[in-house]
């Protein structure tokens, strides 16, 4: 299925490492939240790492990315340092948003990661506006926006699908369909099985892909990005995935039964990727263990760094309000 031969094994190993980084990062996020290192909650993308990594691999560094509160993986995949992101989760001065944003508001404009958003679908038209700016500037850059399947019921998303189709902008909207919106399963919240069907109604390209295989995700994303880059308009790419055992690190959105809660373990993209790497690409499993250990160490370092980072000066509480 995937164009195996075209991607060097080194690259695939880098993907594996990045997925492992995200996993290790998210485990630390959950752990440090539960330890009380920060307040509120945090929304792990555990079991959705293949989407973050597979999509990011199809982008140029100057392509712009917008994501949601479940966007730590997208931030890391776009090149943000774990230290800066973990410090942001802990609301520290060295956070990528100087500790003002926290877990749901990550941003690094220098990396063209334009922020994660906590209002469902509100970032979709904003991303589209940036895509329109690309089109006006003829700069060949593509804008990518991620959202969950629950958020696809929002007017801001639907209005944008229509306008993206009308104006043929270089935009790829990636829907991570993990089957749940907090406690509401997709069959209760959505009228269609495949969210990408919404695209058709507007004359927009829609695609779906198994979101737990980074090679498949990457291939689909490449197609969508190529369309956008060559001026053939926007795509809604649906990645079918599975959510981690709950909506966020507090009990919110716990599944009804234990079985459902643990479904992600069988869908887990990391062992799935390992199987392909070992079976199809002849990678030695020991190498993967090493990459995991490296990822873990990086995450550990990031956490230590974040803990040591100072809290923002109270005198600066009102900073950054106006340009």
């Amino acid at each position: 299925m995937s164009k195996k031969s075209q991607i060097p094994v080194e690259t695939l190993l880098a993907w594996y490492h990045k997925m492992s980084c995200i996993r290790a990062f998210e485990n630390h996020a959950i752990g440090s939240f539960r330890e009380g290192l920060f307040q509120g909650t945090t929304h792990p993308c555990i079991c959705q790492e293949a989407i973050a990594v597979g999509c990011a691999a199809a982008l140029e560094p100057t392509d712009q990315v917008f994501a949601t509160y479940r966007g730590h993986g997208h931030a890391l995949a776009k090149g943000l340092e774990m230290k800066a992101v973990m410090s942001e989760l802990l609301c520290k001065q060295d956070g990528c948003c100087k500790g003002r944003g926290g877990s749901m508001h990550l941003c690094d404009v220098s990396k063209d990661f334009w922020g994660t958003n906590a209002i469902l679908a509100a970032h979709i038209p904003i991303a589209a506006g940036m895509a329109l700016a690309n089109k006006k500037r003829k700069n060949s850059r593509v804008t990518v926006a991620y959202l969950g399947e629950g958020a696809t019921s929002e007017g801001a998303f639907l209005e944008t699908l229509h306008m993206a189709a009308l104006w043929k902008i270089p935009l790829v909207i990636v829907c991570e369909n993990n089957g749940y919106a907090i406690s509401v399963p997709a069959h209760i919240g959505k009228s269609v099985e495949d969210v990408c069907q919404h695209a058709e109604g507007f004359g927009l390209a829609g695609m779906k892909v198994d979101g737990n295989d980074p090679l498949l995700v990457h291939e689909a994303m490449q197609t969508a990005v190529a369309l956008a880059r060559r001026g053939d308009g926007a795509t809604l790419l649906e990645c079918k995935t599975v959510r981690w055992e709950r909506h966020s690190a507090i009990s919110a959105g716990k599944y009804e039964d234990e079985e459902e809660a643990m479904k992600w373990k069988t869908a887990d993209p990391i062992p799935r990727f390992e199987k392909r790497l070992v079976g199809e690409f002849g990678v030695d499993a020991a190498k993967l263990r090493k990459l995991e250990a490296l990822a873990q160490k990086e995450a550990d370092d990031a956490l230590a760094f974040a803990k040591a980072s100072p809290v923002p000066d109270p005198k600066t509480v009102g900073d950054f309000l106006f340009a």
């Binding site: 307040q39 609301c91 500790g99 209002i119 907090i182 509401v184 209760i188 109270p314």
Partner: protein, 325 residues
């Protein structure tokens, strides 16, 4: 009948359950209100008792969901729509402001809109700028709406009963930090009328007018100030629309001083209206400027900075000392 201790979440739940048993037309719409029982547990058990037909989880689409609620309400089925955080009420604001609030007036009285929009204020919980606002002032400004801001379990129950029977669009604003607070709640069916404030503490020297999340800090401030010989009267306004101007003005006439406290950002907050209403009615009796205690005029930051953005008991004490000086 007897009283028991209930949390505010339980009290609201009890009012909903009670009224849903009496009135089979009442429907609840929202997200996570079904089997899950509500993001903050307010709906616990209602799905089991009334089923998906009456406790209906739907798509995340606040604008249309509120519109659906209006349509059900106009058809004679009082409807409770939940907006998970008051910050998201922007999305429902057209339905509330341009539809629900104006429908009856514009149609010359032919329709009524028994819609209750339930929504919590959620601040200082580390959820950031998009999950920390207090937008009650917006709706106080829109004629045709009721705005309810309970601070305790008993009021929450009595005001919810009134809301469900009022026949008009009601914005019922809860507060996450109050959900767990327990208090005596009457078992009886005792609706509390809109537009009547509650004197939470009587006093002679200064009036503290407040509501929702600032009632407790004001009461605590009053206790501390009592030790200094300053006797505060604490008014829990309970509803902002209608606003009990008479009760407010009478208290200020008695004390001659007023501090208004709320968690919304200061500029353009409900405090401005409360203060100005008091000033209009009690000007001749004022012995000091009316002061406001409110959140800072910038978005809510995260982490340790939060403490410097939102008002607390100490800010109230400082303001009272200033007006007593």
């Amino acid at each position: 009948m007897s009283h028991r201790k209930l949390s505010m979440a339980e009290a609201i739940n009890e009012a909903l359950r009670h009224e849903m048993r009496r009135n089979p037309d009442i429907t609840l719409l929202g997200q996570d209100i079904g089997p899950y029982g509500g993001t903050f547990g307010v709906y616990r058990g209602l799905y089991d008792e009334f089923g998906a037909e009456r406790v209906t989880d739907g798509p995340v689409a606040e604008a249309a969901t509120t519109g659906f609620g209006i349509g059900l309400a106009m058809a004679g089925m009082p409807t409770v729509v939940e907006i998970e955080f008051i910050d998201f009420i922007t999305l429902a604001s057209d339905a509330i402001v341009n539809q629900a609030a104006k429908m009856r007036f514009t149609m010359g009285g032919q329709v009524s809109v028994p819609l209750v929009v339930r929504t919590p204020i959620v601040n200082r919980l580390g959820l950031g700028a998009q999950h920390s606002q207090s937008l009650e002032a917006w709706f106080m400004h829109i004629p045709g709406l009721r705005v309810v801001v309970p601070s305790n379990a008993a009021d929450a129950k009595g005001l919810m009963l009134t809301a469900l029977r009022d026949g008009n669009p009601v914005l019922y604003i809860e507060h996450v930090r109050l959900y767990g607070a327990k208090g005596e709640v009457p078992e009886a069916d005792e609706p509390i009328p809109f537009g009547r404030l509650r004197v939470a503490r009587e006093g002679r020297h200064v009036t503290l007018a407040t509501y929702s999340g600032m009632v407790r800090p004001c009461l605590e401030a009053a206790e501390e100030l009592a030790a200094e010989g300053v006797d505060c009267e604490v008014l829990d306004l309970r509803t902002l629309a209608p606003l009990d101007r008479e009760g407010l003005v009478n208290s200020v006439i008695k004390t001659g001083r007023l501090v208004v406290a709320h968690e919304a950002s200061k500029t353009g907050g409900a405090g401005a209206e409360i203060a100005q209403s008091a000033q209009e009615g009690a000007f001749d009796f004022l012995e000091a400027p009316i002061l406001r205690v409110a959140a800072a005029d910038h978005p809510a930051p995260m982490g340790t900075l939060q403490d410097f953005a939102f008002p607390n008991k100490d800010n109230v004490i400082a303001a009272v000392r200033e007006v007593m000086a």
